[in-house]
């Protein structure tokens, strides 16, 4: 049953129909471990829905999702997370009234589930807190550790999302517009944090992003999603040159 080249994520004929509408239409994708893949497409193409189907938030009406060659189609969101799938949400992935450190610690302790008592008082030096502090230091947010997450700048919130993923055991991460609403001054820093996630932590990364020039310089491959279908999956250079992509996406976005 094992294939010659293992996949971090394999999607086979994934479809989603809601009422009469087809949201996702026979999507096939094979992502090798350690890839950094961009997902682009016009608004309403189904990018977030695809992420929701991969992470288990929505149940597809057809097809399968395999993580590390294991079928996870029928499993719950937390089960997928425990299997090593991490994600951010387009709107907000933070807990605004928890401190920045607590935001990351919840993630770190979730990844260390089972072996500890949930009623135990977290000491300053326990493993989850240490992992949380390390992750904050990696993204340069340690000086904001005790500020409520709702009070930090938009760019810092996006960094916090990356820190949360760094603190978990996630091996496959889905970033839904990690640079949305971020000022141009914060973009290079965020790009570096995403590279950390990919190269230092060694995660397989899928990201939806509308900053095309940034995305094209960062990812290895790009999947183009139009009306629930993958119309192209190739290197950034070829995607930019592909007339179908120009017509379907770049043209309509301009």
């Amino acid at each position: 049953m094992s294939t010659a080249v293992p996949s971090a994520l394999r999607i086979e004929g994934l479809g989603l129909k809601i009422g009469g509408a087809t949201i996702l239409d026979g999507i096939d994708l094979d992502i090798p471990p350690g890839s950094l893949v961009g997902v682009i497409g016009p608004n309403g193409a189904g990018k977030t829905t695809l992420f929701n189907a991969i992470s288990g938030v929505v149940t597809p009406t057809s097809g399968r999702v395999l993580m590390d060659d294991r079928d996870i189609t029928g499993t719950s969101v937390p089960a997928r997370a425990r299997a090593g799938l991490g994600r951010t949400f387009q709107t907000s992935s933070n807990f605004p009234r928890l401190s920045v450190l607590e935001n990351v610690r919840v993630a770190a302790q979730a990844s260390r589930g089972g072996s500890y008592s949930l009623l135990r008082f977290p000491r300053g030096d326990d493993a989850a807190t240490a992992a949380a502090r390390d992750a904050l230091a990696q993204v340069g947010l340690e000086h904001r550790a005790h500020v409520p997450a709702g009070d930090i700048s938009h760019g810092d919130k996006r960094k916090l999302e990356i820190a949360v993923l760094l603190a978990t055991d996630a091996r496959l991460v889905l970033l839904d517009e990690p640079m949305a609403g971020v000022g141009s001054g914060d973009v290079p820093g965020l790009v570096e944090r995403i590279r950390d996630l990919h190269q230092v932590k060694g995660c397989t990364v899928l990201m939806v992003e509308h900053h095309l020039e940034v995305l094209m310089g960062l990812v290895e491959r790009v999947a183009v999603l139009v009306a629930g279908r993958i119309v192209a999956f190739d290197t950034p250079e070829r995607i930019m040159a592909d007339p179908r992509v120009q017509a379907a996406y770049l043209g309509s976005a301009a």
Binding site: V57, P78, A81, R82, S92, S93, F95, P96, A110, R120
Partner: protein, 292 residues
């Protein structure tokens, strides 16, 4: 002056009782978005079981009182946990159905209690001290009110410590803020749901035993009456906010007592007017999250 002090202190004591009920309602709504109409039924069962235990012991003794409080809390936690497992969990994410099932349970529970204990109030006995009063600035305050205040304060402190400083508490606070993200981190929030129901039920059960001492009797309708005010308190305080529930409990009860004393028994109406006022000015309540 002494009247003013008396009205104020009895208001705070009544507020303490409201908080015992409202804290659980607020926690449950905050995490699960379920308005739990069965919360009054948990309270009434706690009161009845506490009464049954106390009368089998020496109900005028302190230790019988202590045991009845313990039993009330355990019964409340147990029945709430059972409700979550058997009725709420199968309707996961179906909030309307979840609310309806708690409404149904509330009606069924009252009928069941009437079937077992009858529809007339059953007058209860208490330790002698609780039937006495203590003088404060000339006001003779019934001692039951001090017990209520102590219980509510202990509950508030332990809930705050639990939520702020334990791992599970952090998970619950995180779940109140962004449940999708908690789940995406690999945490099964259903465990937290069960725990929050049990904690809320336990507070309601203890509240039931104390409510019986406050009114002097147990009846099948004890919980229903208190639940209305607990809901008002929870909404005024901001659904899901524990400090909001605490502040609103005292504010509402004091206002109610003052209106009852100085404005010819208009307390209940004034409370509803206050609710309408808060909803007009701050629809999300005093400390509730603002709706976008």
């Amino acid at each position: 002056m002494s009247t003013l002090v008396l009205v104020l202190l009895t208001g705070i004591g009544l507020g303490a009782l409201y908080f015992l009920v409202a804290s659980g309602l607020s926690l449950i709504y905050g995490l699960m978005h379920v308005l739990n109409f069965a919360h009054g039924a948990f309270l009434t069962l706690g009161a009845f079981m506490g009464f049954e235990v106390a009368r089998r012991l020496d109900s005028t003794s302190w230790w019988a009182f202590a045991v009845s409080i313990l039993v009330g809390g355990l019964v409340g936690a147990g029945v709430a946990a059972l409700t979550e497992l058997a009725l709420i969990r199968p309707l996961y994410e179906r909030h309307i159905e979840q609310v309806l099932v708690t409404v149904g349970l509330a009606f069924a529970a009252v009928a069941l209690y009437e079937g077992i204990w009858g529809s007339d109030p059953i007058y209860i006995q208490a330790p002698a001290w609780m039937r006495e009063t203590t003088g404060v600035l000339g006001a003779q305050v019934p001692n039951t009110y001090w017990v209520l205040m102590a219980a509510a304060t202990a509950l508030l402190i332990s809930l705050v410590v639990f939520l702020r400083y334990t791992r599970f508490g952090t998970i619950i606070r995180a779940g109140v803020e962004n449940r999708a993200m908690v789940t995406a981190l690999g945490i099964d929030v259903r465990t937290a749901f069960l725990l929050v129901f049990a904690i809320g039920g336990s507070a309601a059960g203890v509240g039931g035993v104390l409510a019986a001492h406050y009114t002097g009797y147990v009846s099948a309708h004890l919980g229903s009456t208190l639940l209305i005010f607990a809901f008002i308190v929870t909404v005024i305080g901001g659904l899901g906010s524990l400090p909001g529930a605490a502040i609103a409990s005292v504010m509402v009860a004091v206002l109610q007592q003052f209106a009852n004393y100085y404005m010819g028994g208009t307390g209940d109406i004034i409370v509803v007017v206050a609710l309408a006022g808060v909803l007009l000015v701050r629809p999300s309540g005093l400390l509730g999250r603002r709706f976008a």
